[in-house]
């Protein structure tokens, strides 16, 4: 039962990723060698400036933007906060209404709730059973007071990929700015801000093998937006604070690697993921796959197992050395089940019994085999304990 000493099988890449050796290598010279402040005049600081410039080109290239439209932040949450508050506060004279979805990340939802307290109104649109937002609903929600549509490119829990280009078109048809939280999408979905009609896009380095605490906001040239962090003239006067040069360099290298061949990467990952899904659904009764059957991130598998609760699944998997995640927000003080699973229509007890497995670059077929070996036993044991399990789904009592 206790495999504490074997290497963990890490299947929680949507939570965070390790840094690739190439990323660490790219950052290393900027720690104590090229450590100059990019704002400094002397030649010694030129390496820092060049490192930041190069990263800006890489991030721009990865999303089809020009480098001058990329602004570095300390992560996805800051980028989301900046995009939404910045646009709202700068366009207050034009309107006070924002349209978003009910399955956004908290970085978007709580930012919108804060704006509601400042007098803005926000429409949180429902999604269908697969987590898809209907662009028609967005169209219907837009009023002449609407200044921003913010919809995530891909969901972090169930992996559903939104029709971003259509959403962008709807927003632009009505002269409304379009922001997308692409934190989970970068490296997994090809992104082109022009083709997709994206005016603002958030991304976060640690989701694609880059450094934690790094991110970027793409801001289309000419977009009216206020600063979130005021101060020095860094980032062309848009985001104050001495640049995290090693972090930015690492972000640039990571996004370059992550977007170099998305298709091949997805093929490999999705093949493993599909085998995992098939294996689990065939071995475990009363299980369902949450999210969209096809419009989903290649690495995402999200299940509900009836009669059992998510955190207890995680803990037993952990005892077997498997790292996974659940929509039950157990680690926080809240005992609420995931707002995403409720939004796709799961009853509370099934929303409580979810398991998210997200694959990544270091996963192997052996990892899949191992999870397929362990998970049915784990669910079986918990169902043995649960009072909700019907007799037919219970193994004969051991003792």
């Amino acid at each position: 039962m206790n495999d504490q000493d074997q290497r963990p099988v890490y299947m929680d890449h949507a939570a965070t990723t390790f840094m690739k050796p190439e990323v660490i290598a790219a950052m290393a010279p900027y720690f104590s060698q090229h450590f100059g402040n990019p704002s400094s005049l002397y030649r010694f600081a030129r390496e820092s400036r060049m490192g930041v410039d190069e990263a800006r080109r890489e991030v721009g290239a990865a999303v089809g933007a020009s480098p001058e439209e990329i602004f570095f932040t300390a992560g996805g949450s800051e980028a989301d906060n900046w995009a939404i508050k910045g646009v709202a506060l700068a366009n207050r004279k034009r309107g006070d209404h924002i349209v978003t979805s009910s399955i956004e990340h908290h970085a978007v939802l709580h930012t919108c709730e804060w704006l509601e307290k400042q007098g803005f109104s926000v429409t949180y649109l429902p999604v269908d059973e697969f987590g898809l937002l209907d662009p028609g609903d967005v169209r219907d929600a837009i009023t002449d007071r609407t200044i921003l549509v913010s919809v995530m490119a891909a969901n972090n829990e169930i992996g559903t990929i939104q029709p971003v280009a259509e959403l962008g078109r709807v927003a632009h048809d009505h002269g409304v700015l379009f922001h997308t939280d692409a934190v989970q999408a970068v490296g997994a979905v090809p992104i082109d801000v022009d083709r997709m009609g994206i005016d603002l896009l958030s991304l976060s380095g640690h989701k694609f093998y880059g450094p934690k605490g790094t991110g970027a906001l793409y801001i289309r040239r000419g977009t009216r937006i206020e600063n979130l962090i005021h101060g020095g003239g860094q980032e062309r006067g848009r985001r104050a604070g001495t640049e995290n040069v090693p972090g930015i360099v690492g972000l640039g290298r990571a996004i370059e690697l992550a977007t170099a061949d998305i298709e091949a990467h997805n093929r490999r990952i999705a093949a493993m993921r599909d085998r995992l899904v098939r294996g689990i659904l065939s071995a475990i009764p009363d299980a369902r796959l949450n999210g969209h059957p096809t419009e989903r991130l290649a690495n995402n598998a999200n299940f509900s197992f009836r009669y059992v609760e998510g955190e207890s699944i995680l803990l037993l998997l952990d005892a077997h050395g498997i790292c996974a995640s659940t929509g039950s927000a157990c680690s926080s003080a809240s005992l609420e089940p995931s707002h995403v699973l409720l939004a796709i229509g799961l009853p509370h007890e099934e929303a409580h019994g979810s398991l998210r497995l997200t694959l990544g670059d270091a996963n192997t077929e052996e990892d899949v085999d191992y999870v397929l070996e362990v998970l049915p036993e784990v669910i079986g044991r918990l169902r043995q304990i649960s009072p909700l399990t019907p007799a037919h789904a219970r193994m004969p009592e051991a003792d």
Binding site: M1, N2, Y307, V308, E309, G310, E311, S312, L315, L316, A319, S328, C330, S331, S332, A333, S334, L335, P337, P347, H348, E349, H352, Q384, I385, S386, P387, L388, E397, D399
Partner: protein, 146 residues
């Protein structure tokens, strides 16, 4: 976030199951809240001769159920009634603040099962106060409660 004791209790829970001819059964919680505990008691004399549980819930809920049932086995009903959630938490070597409610649930499930025994025997159920009781002294009216 959990202590080693909680993890050990959770990964190797004792007293899981049902008692077909139980003398009392108590159930608290709801699936919507994410935890349900059901406790079965078998009484011989005034002693708890057997106890089993079934729990739907997080690791702390399962560990609390297991620990609480182990604690009350062999106790009189009055002694078992006196087991507080703090006793369960202590026996587990502590619980994260967000999880203390699981120990309250275990205590409540035991008390529900005890009162079920009493009712079946034609006795008055002991008075149950809100679960807030466990926090302050003197708010629990049961005589054997310290």
């Amino acid at each position: 976030m959990y202590t080693e004791k909680v993890i050990a209790e959770f990964t190797n829970p004792q007293n899981v199951g049902e008692i077909a001819d139980a003398d009392g059964v108590g159930e608290v919680g709801s699936p919507a809240c994410g935890d349900i505990m059901r406790i079965y008691l078998k009484i011989e004399g005034d002693r708890i001769a057997d106890v089993r549980f079934r729990t739907f819930g997080c690791g702390a809920a399962i560990a609390s159920s297991s620990m609480a049932t182990r604690m009350i086995l062999g106790m009189s009903l009055a002694e078992a009634w006196a087991v507080s959630n703090a006793d369960v938490v202590e026996a587990l070597g502590g619980l994260p603040p967000a999880k203390v409610h699981c120990s309250v649930l275990a205590r409540d499930a035991i008390r529900a099962a005890i009162n079920d025994c009493r009712t079946r025997r034609g006795l008055e159920p002991w008075e149950v106060r809100s679960s807030g009781c466990s926090r302050g002294a003197g708010c629990d009216s049961h005589p054997e409660n310290g």
